[in-house]
Symmetry: C3
Subunit: 378 residues, 3 copies
């Protein structure tokens, strides 16, 4: 049984911008995978759960049949043009609020532009500041390590006045097995000197002392801090992105009052759920895990709902580049939620009023409370 959950407009608590240009077939396919290399000989990135989910949900929004061949879909998309396709897709996604990690490079829309394309007020697009990108921009703008540390400190504080939250990709840059304590100022300065000294312009931050300094700078603002954990592109060692590696950091942060949001987590989403269960200030998200597992999103969501308290699990699409991914994120989430809660109410394990209440929390309520977004107005 699929339960009618009568969901409110979704709050997408973690996504990126959409492409401003019309991608060709190869570029389109490259957004269906976390791989940064070509598909293996004789295979296609469309032959994945995400590829099948795109072919299920998107063609009908552009006037085609579900599951039509990828070529036919891409042809229709070109006929409409990127902007019109983007508009149609975003408006159909059922999302009412976007929290946008603005730290990725590329010709991508910002939060206000994204909201606008989706037919929403500009104010429905909020910024999530990617800490490592902020540090790299601060380094580009600074002469010498002392200036860098000062500029960065100001930038974090200034960001915290307007951003909805911070995000860290320390999982990619070093792995999550960082020393949990904040580095002393002298350590930070020494690390900044080493990094600034050897860094080419635009060079990525991978220094563990500076990564810890960034995390602690964000934590001190009290704003929610999103942390990438689990599945991601091949830059990352997946076993170094197990959220349990954050346990001692979570304990150390305890008294600072900054909520920590563990993004994605897959295939360690049960580990993230455990952390959300036993630590007051830890929240979990299953964004990326749901759209990439497509037909299996119900099982993955159900696993996340084993230990995550229902007031602490958040929806996100982690969509990036293609407007299709905002649609898939939303549809896959709603479909999975309806299936899972439908089965639990049918068996008598949950009551229907509880199921509807929890569905609203996951779709929007938890994010509204956590990010201080105010009550729903539509």
């Amino acid at each position: 049984m699929d339960l009618d959950l009568a969901l409110p407009p979704l709050v997408d608590q973690h996504c990126h911008g959409v492409l401003r240009h019309d991608p060709d077939a190869d570029e389109f396919a490259s957004y269906l995978t976390e791989s940064d290399a070509p598909a293996a000989p004789g295979t296609s990135f469309f032959d994945t759960q995400l590829g099948f989910a795109v072919r299920r949900w998107c063609p009908p929004l552009l006037g085609l049949e579900a599951h039509c061949p990828a070529e036919r879909y891409l042809e229709r998309r070109r006929e409409l043009g990127a902007e019109e396709a983007t508009r149609r897709l975003l408006r159909a996604s059922g999302t009412g609020t976007y929290l946008v990690d603005t730290g990725l490079p590329g010709d991508l829309t910002g939060p206000a532009e994204l909201a606008g394309l989706a037919g929403l007020d500009d104010g429905r697009g909020h910024v999530v500041v990617r800490l490592e990108a902020l540090a790299e921009r601060s380094a580009d703008a600074s002469h010498g390590p002392g200036a860098f540390v000062e500029v960065l400190g100001h930038a974090v504080v200034a960001s915290s006045r307007t951003a909805a939250g911070f995000k860290s990709v320390a999982a990619y840059r070093h792995g999550l097995g960082l020393d949990p304590e904040p580095p002393a100022p002298a350590e930070v300065h020494a690390a900044a000197a080493r990094w600034m000294d050897s860094r080419p312009r635009g060079g990525r931050l991978r220094d563990p002392v500076l990564l810890r300094h960034l995390l602690w700078s964000a934590v001190r603002t009290g704003l929610p801090l999103q942390l990438h954990t689990g599945f991601g592109d091949p830059d990352l060692r997946l076993d170094h992105a197990d959220p349990l590696l954050l346990t001692d950091f979570i304990r150390a942060v305890g008294t600072y009052g900054s909520p920590l949001v563990l993004l994605h987590g897959y295939p360690y989403h049960r580990h993230a759920a455990y952390l959300a269960n036993v630590f007051t200030h830890v929240y979990a998200d299953v964004g990326l895990a749901l759209c990439h597992t497509g037909a299996r999103a119900d099982a993955v969501l159900a696993e996340a709902l084993e230990l995550t308290p229902f007031g602490k699990l958040l929806y996100s699409s982690d969509a990036f580049g293609l407007p299709e991914l905002y649609v898939v994120g939303a549809r896959v989430f709603e479909e999975a939620l309806g299936g899972v809660l439908g089965a639990w109410t049918e068996s008598g394990a949950w009551s229907e009023p509880d199921a509807r209440r929890v569905a609203h929390l996951l779709a929007a309520g938890n994010a509204r409370r956590l990010y201080g977004l105010g009550p729903e107005t539509d």
Copy 2:
């Protein structure tokens, strides 16, 4: 299809005592989580799978509707009084034998008192001796390390004459990554000297040499040894409680004849199942995992049944404090078992006689054989 399994009275191979007093709403809620801190702002510990399971199974036993609001349930509980509520709940749980870890502090019933409240003969409550608590009591009663080691040695042997088994919480105190071999007597004495020297009265045992000495002291008695693995409270680093960390200890114990029972295991229950599959003297339990995952208990039980031989998986509630948790443990287990085995017989994967036979083993037969409890008499 749910199969009627006609289960015998359950043997709960791992539980704790119930509270002797009437908990207020906050204390009640604190037993629904492994967290030791308040719920996050705007959230409730009732909004968890365990909270929903309590609201499903317990209100009807006190004359209310399933899923009634928590406040209404707590009000009704107060009307009846703690003792009457405890009596009604325990008698409805369908449990015929309790193996009680008596090592937790607090105003809790012992095994005989628990059996009595449940309407059973006193003899249906058995003691499981928590090794670390035994060591701490031995230390409290000893002057100097030499006396401590001797007192402890006598206490282990004396316990083994009446206890059903031993239990270790080394996972909490140090993690399971202990040196697998028994420490030499000189090492034990040196560690005892260090510990006794620095220990405040009542201080917890965390010394890895003494923890290993405890494990090996228990193993030498030949009695079943229960080991906490996996999910537990935030004292523990979950990744240090992976049962696979016990592999070399399991190999070293091999020839001593003491069966090892891996408790809980979640989210590493497939790891525990593997160990039970390939090592003759290893058994697995899914107690805590089932009640905390509630509506998902069927999936978790099914995962445990992938590799655990059917003669080696044991039921327990891990109930503690609230009589509700004995009910939830039992109902969630039976419901999950009926659902899982029902699906497997319906598909033809299992025959119905096999399903009934295995269900009896899991509910009672395996524990009766392992702990030498004799045949069922009711």
Copy 3:
């Protein structure tokens, strides 16, 4: 809904030979487990998912009822004789091509003999060369380390001319946490000298330098390299067989063009799926995981299909010794596939043509492409 997938004859990309003699009841049971020790007191290796799967699928092929008692089945098997039973079982398995790891000791059929017993042309049995066995044979045949290294080098190249692929059991011999880079020639010679010096005739290779040398020798031939990962017998530390430990080796191999096939993977099959998702030259297999989890094979297969691109998942039985295991491997795979894809088409997540196409890829197409087996001819 179970979808009729109209599967082609299966390509079993990883199996071993069958016994040439008639096993007695104890030997038969010993093939139902990865344990190398007796079953625990009061338990039986037939009381496992694999035991139940054998009792489900095999009795009807010998004229008995499904799920008949194990004793009755073994009696019937003896009446028919090992060769006739083997013939009937293999012919019913629906397998059209066998890739046989010939590196196990014992009185086992080779690839051509296996194909013949199954009623196929000899050419339907292909050799997969187990690297460690090749090294041990090379050592037995060589005087001194210099000769060993040379003989081994020739043996790898010679094997690559006729074998379908190579296989490594480094997971058993050392664990997968090997230095990812190829060892320098001087290191190889020093390791060979140490090993040849201390090795009794027939002694197993466990030296990490020589294991790496074997992996890199195989990789340089460009032939597919199968790597044991995950679940196996108690020789192995399961946590040292997590396929993620291969991440840096996978990166290092990247440019050499040798596809890597991660065998089994369970319970880390989601980790293997991730690697197949993000690295072009990585493939995954769920052989051993499916037959040992029996009634749960659908869930395990579904987990593997979360992230593994559909062009990169391969069927195998990992059958060894008993012809029953070839039947169980095939039936459990087909049943799981029908159930999983049936549910996904019924819900609308997948289209039926896509489901049939993907089923063909998994059953045979992916293996045909990867091992260059040419198009199906039956």
